[in-house]
């Protein structure tokens, strides 16, 4: 039992291994920030499942790029942005979009698996796209991640308010002159870019743990938009960095560590939130 646990949790040679993952930690922090910022918008638009679909298409694109011997980043971006635009043009909202995504998702995953099986290079590359390989992040990837962070910030900061309005309350937003369709398209492209970066660095399976779970945890605790954003960034970064550090000494993939941390944070927030709900959220009179 102790041995089994030691295979999963250990801090042997932790300090000597740490310098090897400095760039991964930077990448993880950037990714956590982006994911935490974009998370509330995904939740407001009810797009959790679309994120999954986009991630699988990104996986297929990256696998195709690997097979063709071109840049994986390019493949991942092409796959997910294409997928996101298609979803946006179909005018998805969860209710109508779910079956569409359900159709696209296994197709993307299947294509990706096919491309990987045809590829006869290093097998660690194969698993990386599905399960995460942030330990091997190189400077080029770090550069494109930093660029993406800037792009997301430049696009989302000025558009945040109307975009959030359009996401939460599309009918009134439309009536107030917000360009709901155009904003939706812009958001889906940004989402596609973020998914593509996530897929390369943490793998298609981890995308949900970064884009969905931290915001879900944050909204158990508060309904103040500013606080939701701050908390979901905190949770996403915490899961990411914690996952990288914990996986270091055991030498396991980071995915299970990141997903477990993210899940535990969610459970704690959920418990705190339900306690709070039971005691009454605010001081409002019951017989309103």
């Amino acid at each position: 039992m102790g041995d089994a646990l030691a295979k999963l949790i250990s801090f042997d040679q932790f300090w000597s291994l740490l310098p090897l993952v400095t760039s991964s930690l930077v990448a993880g922090a950037l990714l956590g920030i982006i994911a935490g910022v974009i998370g509330p918008m995904i939740q407001a638009r009810d797009l959790a499942f679309a994120v999954h679909g986009t991630a699988e298409l990104s996986f297929a694109g990256a696998a195709a790029a690997l097979l063709a011997g071109v840049s994986i980043t390019l493949g991942a971006v092409a796959g997910s942005v294409l997928g996101a635009i298609v979803l946006a043009l179909m005018g998805i909202r969860a209710r109508q979009g779910n079956s569409l995504i359900g159709i696209v998702l296994p197709f993307g995953l299947g294509l990706g698996v096919l491309f990987l099986s045809l590829y006869d290079g290093r097998s660690s590359n194969k698993f990386g796209l599905l399960l995460g390989q942030i330990v091997s992040v190189d400077n080029a990837q770090l550069g494109s991640l930093a660029l993406l962070t800037v792009v997301v910030a430049v696009v989302l900061i000025p558009l945040w308010r109307p975009m959030f309005f359009a996401a939460v309350d599309p009918v009134v937003a439309q009536a107030r002159g917000v360009r709901v369709r155009e904003l939706s398209l812009i958001f889906m492209v940004v989402l596609g870019l973020v998914c593509a970066m996530c897929v390369q660095l943490v793998g298609a399976l981890l995308v949900m743990a970064l884009l969905i779970t931290p915001t879900a945890a944050a909204t158990c605790l508060t309904a103040r938009p500013v606080l939701v954003s701050a908390l979901s960034v905190t949770f996403a970064v915490l899961s990411m960095e914690g996952g990288i550090l914990l996986s270091l000494s055991p030498g396991r993939p980071i995915s299970p560590y990141v997903t477990t941390l993210s899940f535990l944070i969610y459970l704690v927030c959920r418990a705190v939130g339900s306690l709070r709900t039971r005691r009454g959220w605010s001081a409002r009179a019951v017989a309103a």
Partner: protein, 271 residues
């Protein structure tokens, strides 16, 4: 005085399907006008015309003397129940705040003026007690009052209400209708109120615009809610019964009231 709403010989059609024509409607400040008619008569579309989202086939539509255009700050709009995602994590205060500056570029951190305007609007509709609770924890009636506050926050000259009483129980129907009535008396806001059920607002309406059979009639409730007028509109015999101060229309498409509500719910499920 310039009327708040002025429609002259207006007609609306989708493709070859004529919804209504020959609509002449003037709404003055502080007036309460009920828009009535069967399903699919183009009641909500009339609101969309005034919001600048739907062009007229013929005629002219003016709001405060200006041609209608999208995003006018002269108009507050209360959409149909169900337009809001049910479990989004925002507070009532945030929903009302969207009415103030949601359309403007920026992060939305808010100003002092916004804070005061939001507070004032929530006091007007009596929603301050649950201003900080998440929307997901509020009842239909509470949400609807926040909707009114959201529409009022910029002190519009015109309030467009699309079936705001739908899916509310009688008690909440009365409260929401009275909140809207109070606003137009206090602030002189003109109200255009779309409904398929006239009775909850019968004591409040000054005029009725009845849309049916591709036509429109405008007048006082007593002039319009009559068998001969509605029979002519529907092109079929219609009875109008008065009972205990309530009006029941029999024989128009309106009679099948249960089917009515069913229809609306279906529309929501797909919308």
């Amino acid at each position: 005085m310039t009327p708040v709403v002025s429609l002259q010989d207006a007609a609306l059609a989708y493709g070859s399907r004529l919804l209504w024509s020959g609509l002449d409607l003037q709404v003055q400040a502080g007036e309460f006008v009920g828009v009535l008619g069967p399903n699919g008569a183009g009641k909500s579309s009339l609101l969309r015309v005034l919001l600048g989202e739907q062009p007229l086939r013929a005629g002219q539509a003016l709001v405060c003397g200006e041609p209608v255009h999208r995003g006018s700050s002269l108009i507050g709009y209360i959409p149909q129940h169900g337009a809001l995602a049910p479990d989004t994590a925002i507070r009532g205060r945030d929903l009302v705040g969207f009415g103030w500056d949601g359309h403007r570029i920026g992060l939305g951190l808010g100003s002092r003026a916004k804070k005061e305007a939001v507070e004032r609007a929530m006091v007007t509709v009596g929603a301050t007690a649950y201003a900080d609770a998440p929307l997901s924890m509020l009842s239909g009636g509470e949400r609807q009052r926040l909707r009114i506050a959201q529409a009022l926050v910029t002190r519009p000259r015109l309030l467009l209400c699309d079936e705001p009483l739908l899916n509310l129980d009688l008690h909440h129907q009365r409260e929401v209708a009275q909140a809207i009535d109070r606003v137009r008396r206090l602030e002189g806001t003109a109200v255009l109120f779309v409904t398929h059920e006239i009775n909850p607002i019968l004591p409040l309406v000054d005029h009725v615009a009845y849309l049916a059979g591709g036509q429109a009639r405008v007048g006082r409730p007593g002039e319009i809610m009559r068998a001969e007028v509605l029979s002519e509109l529907y092109g079929a015999p219609v009875d109008v019964l008065h009972h205990n101060g309530r009006i029941v229309v029999l024989g128009g498409d309106d009679t099948a009231t249960p089917g009515h509500d069913h229809h609306h719910e279906e529309a929501h499920d797909h919308g």
